[in-house]
Point group: C2
Chain length 470, copies 2
C-alpha cells in the first residue's frame, strides 16, 4: 500500500528517516575511503519494504538528507512506478543528481506515470533526446496540454496550474452529476467545486461539492450553481494569484483563456508550493546563493553556485577600497581615521537595508500608490535624522573618548548623520527606480544599497576629516 | 451583497484601490498642512457603497495603503458588523493603529461577530478591560474554546487551528448525514472531510465529502469512512504541520488531544497565512526590522522598530574598529593596508553568510542528520579553499598592480584564503552550536557571522601584514 499510513503524526517522519539511516549505516563501509561492503540482500529488502510504505514526499525528504552514494542506493530500491512522483517532490539540485544517473528508458517510464502539468516541471531537466521521446509517448490531448504548460513563462499562473478540472453542463440534473462522479475512479485532489461549462467550454459557473451534497438531486446544475468568484488567466502573475488565494481563502480557482474558455485550474497546494519556493528563493538570493544547493553536492557545484555573488561583492568592495585609496594621504596623517571609518560605512549599510526591505515588502503587497512616494521619502529622511542624531552623538562621544579630539568627534557625528541620510535616500530611490523601470524592486537591492553606503560612507567620513581635521 | 463580486480578476483589486483613492483625493485639502475640507456627504456615500461591495481582505489592503488620516476616514465608513473580519486581515501595526482609536463598545461588538479562534488572534491587541468584556460576552462553549486558543503558545498548532470541524457518528447512515448537512446553513470553509467520532469525541476516522457524494446513501458512515491519515496535537510545532500540509497536499487535518479526542482542525488557509507570516518575519529579521512596519507609521514608531538592530551592529562594528586600532602602528607605516582591509573582511562576511544560509535552510528541512556535520564542515572548508585560492590570487595580483609590492600581494592572497576558511568554519559552527543548544539556528546567525568575519578578517590581514611586511 502506498500513500499515507494510518494515523501519521508529525514526529513519525523524523523517526522513519532515522530508521532508514540506521539500516543504511550497516551498508556503509566501516572506514571512510574503504571499498563499499558487500550489500546484504536481506538488509536491502528491509529498506525497500520501508520505502514502499512511505509517501513519495517523505521519500524525497529521505533522499535529500542522504549523501550522494547512499542516496543512489536508496534510489535504486524505489519502485520504478513511483520514481516520477518522487522526482517531482525533490529540490532541483537533488533531482538533477538523480536524473544524471538514470537511463533514458527509465526517465521515459518515470514521466509516463505523471500528468501533463507535472511532466512540464520535470522536462527541462531531461536530456533533449529523452524529452522528445517523452513528448512522443503521450496521447494527443496530453501532448497539447504539455506544450501549453511548457509555453507559459515561469512565475505565471499557466506554469503552476493543472488540467485536473472536472466539468459539467448546466442542463443536467444533480442526479446525473452524481452518477458521473461515481464512474470516475476518484475525484482529483483539491476538487472542492466542479466547473460548469457550455458546449464551447466557456465557463458559466461553479458547482461546489458542498452544494451538490445538500441540494435536491432532482434539480438541474444551472439551478444551483454559484457565480464564478475569481477567475484567472494563464498569463496572470502567479504571485497575484497566490495573494488572491490568501485573501479569499480559496481551495481552487478556474483558469480561462481570453474567450472565457476553461483551460485548467489552480489549486491551493500549487499555491503553497509556489509561496514556499518564492520565499526560499528570496532567502537564498539575499545571501547570494544562486539556487537551492544540495548540501551533499560536490565542492565544484557549490563553488559555481556561489562565485557570482562573491564576484559582484568583490567589485563593490574594490570600488570602496579605491575611495579609501584616494584619501591615503589623510589616513597617513591621522591613522585614527582607518579605525573609525568602517563603523560609519557599516551602520549606513544596515540602516539602508532596513529602509529598502520595508519598501520592497510594501511594494510587493501593493501598498505604495504613486502619490505617496514623496511622503515616504520624507518619512525615511526623518527617521534617518533621528537615528543620525542619536547614534552620531554616541559615536562622536566614543571617538572623543578614544582619541581625545573634539574635532574628530564632531566629524564622526556629522559623517554618521550624513551617511544615514544618504542610506535613507538611496533606500527609497533604488526600489523606486527599479519599480518605475518595470523591474523587480527586490532583485539586487541589498548589493546596490550596500555598495552606495560603503563607498558613500567612506567618502563622507574621510572627506569631512580631510576638510576639517588636516 | 458582501463577499466576492462576480468574476473578479486579479487586476480588479488594483483598480478598486485606485478608484477609492481617487475619491479620497477629492476629500483631501488642496495644500499640505491646510485644514481638511468639508466632507461632502455624497462623496462619502460613494466610498461607503464601494466598500460594501469589497471582500474584507480587500478592504484590509485598501486600509494598509492609506496614510493615517485617510485610513481613519475609510475605517469610519466601514459597516460595524464587518469591522471584526477586517481587523483579522490587517497587519499587526495597522490593526493597532485602528484599535487605538476605537471605543470599547465598538471593540466588543467587532469581536462579537467573530469565532473563538479568530477572537484569540485579536484579543492581545485589546485593552485589558475590553478583553475581559469580550470574554464575558461569549457563550460558555466559545468562552472555553477562546481560553484554550489563548493558552497555546505562538508557533504551535493550537494557536492556528479553528473549531469549525463538522463531526458525525459511525453508526448513522449517509442519508442521515446528508440530511444533517442540509440543516446546517452552510458548511464551514475548507470542509473537505467530516470527522467521525465516538460518544467520547474520540476520532475514529474521516468521511471525505467526495466519498459522501459517490457512495450509496443507504450505507452507514462506518462502512465508507477513511482512516485518519495525519492527526495533529495542539502542541505540535505549526512549522512541522505546515510541512506536512505541503508534503501531503492536505486541505484540512484533525487536531486531537492526548486521549485521542477531537478538539479542532487545521485548514490549509491557516497554513498559507502561517507560511507567509513566517517568511515575512524571516525577511524582516534578516534586515534588522523587529516587526512589520506600517509604512505610514509615525517616525517615532519606525525608530523604535529599527534601533535595536543598529545598536547590535554598532557594537560589532566597534569591536572590529578596536581590532584595527590595535594595528594603527602598522597602518601608519603602510597606509595601503587601510584601503585593502575592507575587501578581505567584506568578502569573508559574504562567504560566511552563504554557508550559514545554506545550513540553516537544510536544518529547517530536516536534511542534516547528526552524523553528517563533520562531512559538511569538510565540504565547506574545501569550497572555501577553492574560493580562497581563486579570489586570493586575483586580489593578490590587484594589490601588486596597485602598490607594486610582491610581498603585499602575497599577504593579501594569504589573508583572503585564511579569512574564507574562518568564514566557512564559523558558518558551520554557529548554526551547529545553536541547534545543539536547542535554539533557533537562524536567529541572529547573520550578525554573528559578520561579527566574526569582520573582526577576524581585519585581524588576519593586519596581523599577517605586521608579521611579513614591516
Amino acid at each position: 500500500m502506498t500513500g499515507l499510513p494510518d494515523r501519521l503524526e508529525v514526529e513519525d517522519l523524523q523517526q522513519n528517516l532515522g530508521e532508514i539511516q540506521a539500516v543504511l549505516a550497516r551498508l556503509r563501509p566501516a572506514e571512510d575511503g574503504a571499498a563499499p561492503a558487500e550489500h546484504d540482500p536481506a538488509l536491502l529488502a528491509t529498506v525497500r519494504a520501508r520505502l514502499d510504505r512511505l509517501h513519495p514526499a517523505d521519500i524525497a525528504v529521505v533522499l535529500e538528507a542522504l549523501p550522494l552514494d547512499e542516496r543512489q542506493i536508496v534510489w535504486e530500491l524505489v519502485r520504478a512506478e513511483r520514481e516520477g512522483e518522487i522526482l517531482l517532490e525533490l529540490s532541483d539540485a537533488v533531482r538533477e543528481s538523480l536524473i544524471a544517473r538514470m537511463e533514458p528508458r527509465e526517465l521515459v517510464a518515470a514521466a509516463g506515470t505523471l500528468e501533463a502539468d507535472e511532466i512540464a516541471d520535470l522536462l527541462p531537466d531531461f536530456p533533449e533526446a529523452v524529452a522528445q521521446d517523452v513528448i512522443r509517448a503521450l496521447p494527443q490531448e496530453e501532448r497539447e496540454q504539455l506544450r501549453a504548460a511548457l509555453s507559459y513563462e515561469e512565475g505565471t499562473v499557466g506554469a503552476v496550474m493543472d488540467f485536473d478540472q472536472v466539468t459539467v453542463r448546466e442542463d443536467v440534473s444533480l442526479e446525473a452529476v452524481t452518477r458521473y462522479l461515481r464512474r470516475l475512479d476518484q475525484l482529483p485532489d483539491h476538487t472542492d467545486q466542479l466547473f460548469v461549462v457550455d458546449r464551447e467550454q466557456r465557463l458559466r459557473g461553479t458547482l461546489p461539492l458542498a452544494q451538490l451534497i445538500v441540494a435536491d438531486l432532482e434539480l438541474e446544475v444551472g439551478q444551483v450553481m454559484a457565480a464564478v468568484s475569481l477567475q484567472l488567466h494563464p498569463e496572470d502573475a502567479a504571485e497575484d494569484a497566490a495573494q488572491a488565494f490568501e485573501r479569499y481563502d480559496l481551495v481552487s480557482a478556474p483558469v480561462v483563456d481570453h474567450f472565457g474558455r476553461l483551460i485548467g485550474r489552480l489549486t491551493v497546494n500549487a499555491v503553497v508550493d509556489y509561496i514556499r519556493d518564492m520565499s526560499s528563493q528570496a532567502q537564498l538570493a539575499e545571501s547570494g546563493l544562486r539556487e537551492e544547493e544540495d548540501i551533499f553536492a560536490p565542492v565544484w557545484n557549490s563553488f559555481r553556485n556561489r562565485w557570482a555573488w562573491l564576484a559582484v561583492n568583490l567589485v563593490t568592495a574594490f570600488i570602496a577600497s579605491r575611495v579609501i585609496g584616494a584619501f591615503e594621504g589623510s589616513i597617513e596623517r591621522l591613522v585614527a581615521l582607518a579605525a573609525l571609518m568602517p563603523i560609519v560605512a557599516g551602520i549606513g549599510g544596515n540602516s539602508g537595508n532596513q529602509t529598502t526591505t520595508m519598501i520592497v515588502r510594501a511594494l510587493a503587497l501593493g501598498q505604495i500608490q504613486r502619490e505617496y512616494w514623496g511622503r515616504l521619502l520624507r518619512k525615511e529622511l526623518s527617521v534617518a535624522t533621528l537615528n543620525g542624531v542619536a547614534w552620531g552623538t554616541l559615536l562622536g562621544a566614543v571617538a572623543f573618548a578614544l582619541y581625545g579630539s573634539v574635532a574628530l568627534g564632531g566629524v564622526m557625528a556629522l559623517a554618521m548623520l550624513l551617511t544615514l541620510l544618504l542610506a535613507a535616500g538611496m533606500g527609497v530611490a533604488i526600489p523606486y527606480a527599479r519599480a518605475r523601470l518595470g523591474r523587480d524592486p527586490a532583485a539586487g537591492a541589498s548589493v546596490l544599497i550596500t555598495a552606495c553606503t560603503d563607498s558613500g560612507g567612506f567618502f563622507i567620513f574621510l572627506g569631512l576629516a580631510t576638510l576639517f581635521l588636516l
